[in-house]
């Protein structure tokens, strides 16, 4: 038992920070002693949300992305937030293979990946205000 823990990271929406964001969240989550597979799930989901903030939220302009992580008992809650252009239709956005930017060879699988690898995914978005993706992962390896 590590007890409650919390961190908040703010970084620039540059693509070189995608791997940085993954490492930060993974090493915070590491406190819960997850399996390698569970940690890979978290890294992949974070990568999707951060990439979306960069490409779709800020459309490649440089601004701040915020990640907030809270550990309680056996789970981690991860919030990825941008103050970018927002999502018009969240239900449509969540559909597998739907992408608004096929010209960038986006696969439209980002939200599907997040929902597959995390135990809970919740999207809040408002046009021209920004997007906030809240995800929860429960580590089975902790449930002793």
């Amino acid at each position: 038992m590590v007890g409650k823990n919390h961190m908040r990271l703010e970084f620039l929406s540059k693509s070189q920070n995608e791997s940085f964001a993954r490492v930060v969240v993974a090493s915070f989550a590491a406190q819960l002693d997850p399996t390698i597979e569970e940690l890979a799930d978290v890294k992949t989901a974070v990568s999707e949300a951060v990439t979306n903030a960069i490409i779709h939220g800020y459309e490649d302009r440089v601004a701040n992305i915020i990640i907030e992580c809270t550990i309680t008992e056996d789970e981690i809650e991860i919030i990825v937030e941008d103050k970018g252009k927002g999502i018009d239709d969240i239900e449509l956005a969540k559909e597998p293979l739907y992408t608004s930017r096929p010209e960038l060879e986006r696969s439209g699988m980002g939200f599907t990946v997040m929902e597959t690898f995390m135990d809970k995914v919740d999207i809040e978005s408002q046009k021209d205000v920004g997007t906030r993706v809240m995800m929860v992962k429960r580590f089975e390896s902790c449930q002793k």
């Binding site: 693509s15 990568s47 999707e48 060879e105 696969s107 699988m109 599907t112 990946v113 597959t116």
Partner: protein, 111 residues
Amino acid sequence: MLTKFEIINNDLIVKLDGELDHHTAKTVREEIDREIDENNTKNIIFDLEGVHFMDSSGIGVVMGRYKKVQRLGGETGVINLSSRVEKIFKMSGLFNIVKKFENKKEALERL
């Protein structure tokens, strides 16, 4: 991300090493496309043994190359998937368009 190429009869084998995400995808895509164009590539084979991270940007890279070679009648194969990368291929339905082979030899023979 490291990209290595090998050409055997008009087939292009692409060996990737590193993390395949949105940041690395752009260069990887450009490098592969140049090889395809320059070498008159028919089929493309991805060797993913060295890919220790991949997200949906990687799916986009594979889909994009599939479409490119398909236009000229070529096919796409993959070899050496880690269980992790295999999971992402399965989830995204990529195995409906690209074929998985045991090794390079099998891929070259059966494509």
